[in-house]
């Protein structure tokens, strides 16, 4: 038997086309990656450039005459009395002394408006820190109003007609005088990290939302990690394959694709209306987010369990370990990095979720920092939504700053996932 097929000769033009196609494909890939990186950079640049100013706050140095008669008429020097005293009048008279000759209610109100509505508390805190100041004249930094703050951060331009400017010419003159006196300073905005929400941008802080998010995530994790992992173990290691388990599997996959707001409606109907749990509370938010995260964790855990080679199970069974011992001594430890990674990614998703929480009332304005899981609270993404919706100029930078905080949490969580995977991954 002879075979007369000629030996392989590659057509040069075919080869050229093939190489060109390879090159083209690589270019497309590179272009796609570059586009993605560029968009990400744009996003981050925009957020950071808008938000970094929120970490600073403009203060005005005022010479306050801390009159002992006004602050502490009885001369007790007790902390309670110092704290209970009114410092508003002292601040106002200091402003009047700074700019003498201002007459009329309107002009006075404008003058008082260059300091923040809670600037008197800056004086109180200074006095409480150092009670010896009482009776002297001290230079104390008081918070400026949000408009003055925005002006010095460059968000209110001076070269526009007065009618279009929030800072009027008269105020501008006062501020310039203060500025030439070196009385306008910028300090790190610690209040942003220690305060709850507020109607005044210079007072608004992120702590309430952070605590609310932590409570909510704690509930979510406590509910969906054990339930999700046990479900995955049962389905993957113990359940027989029949139409019931097939049905359950299909439904879990479907649940993962259900829009999150539907879970919010479910929570509203069941947790609030039927079970009567408190509105706006992290406990309900956590339960709703647990429902939403459960399918993610189950799917990730099943994949991690499936990735453990069957030879490990056989080895354990072959020594006389029971099914449960096999799973808990050998399979689960090997699957743990994958399960934890899936869980943390699910948690990160829950941390960024807004829609279902709107349905259960976590969108309310809450100035207090929640003290327990059943207190009314809000969470980071909802706080961002609320601030983005506020008309004051000062909330623009707060919105971006809150986004930066949220992104920081997400990056930390993802980093933990990577570290866990690297640390506990075992090769076989």
């Amino acid at each position: 038997m002879t075979d007369n097929t000629p030996h392989l000769k590659i057509n040069p033009s075919l080869l050229k086309r093939r190489n060109a196609a390879e090159k083209r494909f690589r270019f497309y890939g590179l272009a796609a990656v570059m586009t993605a990186v560029l968009v990400l950079c744009l996003l981050l640049t925009s957020i950071i450039s808008k938000g970094y100013t929120a970490f600073q706050q403009t203060y005005i140095l005022m010479d306050i005459r801390l009159d002992a008669e006004t602050i502490d008429p009885k001369g007790t020097k007790r902390v309670e009395d110092l704290a209970a005293a009114s410092y508003k009048g002292l601040l106002r008279s200091a402003l009047r002394e700074q700019f003498p000759g201002i007459e009329g209610r309107k002009a006075k109100r404008a003058l008082y408006g260059i300091v923040g509505s809670s600037a008197e508390f800056d004086i109180r805190n200074a006095v409480l820190d150092n009670p010896k100041l009482v009776g002297t004249t001290a230079t104390i930094a008081v918070k400026s109003s949000d408009d003055v703050d925005s002006f010095y951060k460059g968000y209110i331009p001076r070269d526009v007609p007065e009618s279009n400017r929030k800072i009027k010419d008269r105020e501008l003159a006062w501020l310039d005088t203060l500025f030439e006196d070196d009385r306008i300073i910028k300090k790190f905005n610690i209040n942003f990290f220690t305060n709850g929400d507020s109607r005044e941008p210079e007072e608004a802080g992120i702590l309430g939302a952070v605590i609310g998010s932590l409570y909510t995530l704690a509930i979510t994790l406590a509910l969906c990690f054990p339930v999700g992992v046990l479900t995955a173990i049962y389905l993957e290691e113990f359940a027989p394959t029949n139409k019931w388990t097939d049905l359950i599997e299909v439904n879990i996959n479907n649940l993962a694709a259900v829009p999150s707001i539907v879970f919010g409606l479910l929570g509203l109907a069941i947790f609030l209306n039927f079970m009567g749990l408190p509105r706006s509370a992290p406990i309900v938010g956590g339960m709703v987010l647990a429902l939403m995260t459960l399918p993610t964790i189950i799917i990730a855990s099943r994949a991690a369990l499936k990735a453990v080679p069957p030879s490990i199970r056989e080895a354990a069974l072959g020594i006389g370990a029971s099914r449960m011992q096999t799973v808990f001594h050998h399979v689960l430890p090997l699957a743990m990095p994958g399960i934890l990674t899936g869980t943390i990614l699910g948690m990160a998703q829950a941390l960024g979720e807004t829609a279902p929480l709107l349905m259960i009332g976590m969108v309310a304005f809450i100035a207090d920092i929640p003290g327990s899981m059943s207190d009314a609270a809000t969470v980071l993404p909802v706080q961002i939504y609320l601030w983005a919706d506020s008309p004051e100029r000062g909330f623009v930078e707060k919105t971006s700053a809150a986004i930066m905080i949220l992104l920081a949490f997400l990056i930390v969580m993802n980093a933990i996932a990577v570290i866990l995977r690297k640390r506990f991954e075992r090769r076989w």
């Binding site: 394959t241 080895a315 072959g318 020594i319 006389g320 370990a321 001594h329 050998h330 076989w428």
Partner: protein, 270 residues
């Protein structure tokens, strides 16, 4: 076709019974779903000797091996009919706990599968699990003894806390054998234990099998007829789910009675 006619087709040649049977299999049929993997197997496994199961791929020899410690239980759709007994106790119908059975009938697999733990913990897992040692000293002693018996002690005694997965293939397989004998089983089943190993590692394992025969009853599935001839006293030849012929290894290889055995061992098929 009637069952009786079937039976005639499946008649096994020569000595299915031995004088001192450890395991007796009678009329064993195994099904994976609708397809039959083993057809009416009759076979005795003699105590303290090596029985090798040979035959072409897919002939059911591994399936039979896994029936002996009920490892088939974990495979879905697998049904076992017939009677298999260990020391006269039925494995399937007497309420015997399969977990305890597997402690008495150990197994070594085709691919070395040490746990991704330290060498020490690999061996110690079985004794700890079954509570056969009570003190740390006893455990240390058990681990050393098992590793010595598996001929691995001198190679690993300085790195017992290193992962078992870091050993070479042959060492890993001996580690798996040491792990199996650490719980003192009565029978050790080996499913092609040398198929992933080089000739030198294979020679070591074969030597080991010969030594272990004194204390354990061994059943080994192998693709290598030379290996069957070297290590076993009795050989059973499986083909298409039937046990074609079984007998003394020397006799089976020198004067096979069935044409199919003849064909397989001379290399005409399989």
């Amino acid at each position: 076709m009637s069952y009786a006619m079937d039976m005639q087709n499946y008649t096994t040649q020569s000595e299915t019974a031995t004088s001192e049977p450890k395991i007796m299999a009678r009329d064993v049929n195994v099904f994976y779903g609708p397809s039959q993997a083993l057809k009416s197997i009759q076979l005795d496994i003699g105590a303290n000797e090596v029985t090798s199961l040979i035959g072409p791929s897919g002939c059911g020899k591994s399936t039979f091996l896994r029936c002996l410690n009920r490892m088939n239980d974990v495979i879905e759709n697998c049904t076992v009919e017939g009677r298999i007994s260990l020391d006269g106790v039925d494995l399937y119908n007497s309420g015997l706990d399969p977990v305890l059975l597997r402690a008495r009938v150990g197994m070594v697999f085709q691919k070395p599968n040490p746990f991704p733990k330290s060498i020490f913990d690999n061996i110690a897992y079985g004794p700890r699990l079954h509570g056969t040692v009570s003190t740390k000293d006893e455990l240390d002693e058990r681990v050393e003894k098992s590793l010595r018996r598996a001929g691995l002690w001198d190679e690993v005694k300085d790195r017992l806390d290193k992962p078992g997965t870091g050993l070479s293939g042959g060492q890993q397989q001996r580690l798996c054998i040491a792990r199996a004998i650490a719980i003192n089983p009565e029978v050790i089943l080996m499913d092609e234990p040398c198929s992933a190993l080089d000739p030198i590692a294979t020679a070591k394992i074969e030597e080991l099998i010969d030594e272990l025969r004194e204390r354990f009853t061994i059943v080994i599935v192998t693709h290598s007829m030379q290996q069957a001839a070297r290590v076993s006293q009795r050989t059973a030849f499986f083909h298409l789910g039937e046990l074609v012929e079984v007998g003394e290894t020397d006799r089976l290889f020198t004067s096979p009675q069935d044409d199919r055995t003849q064909g397989y061992i001379t290399g005409r098929f399989g």
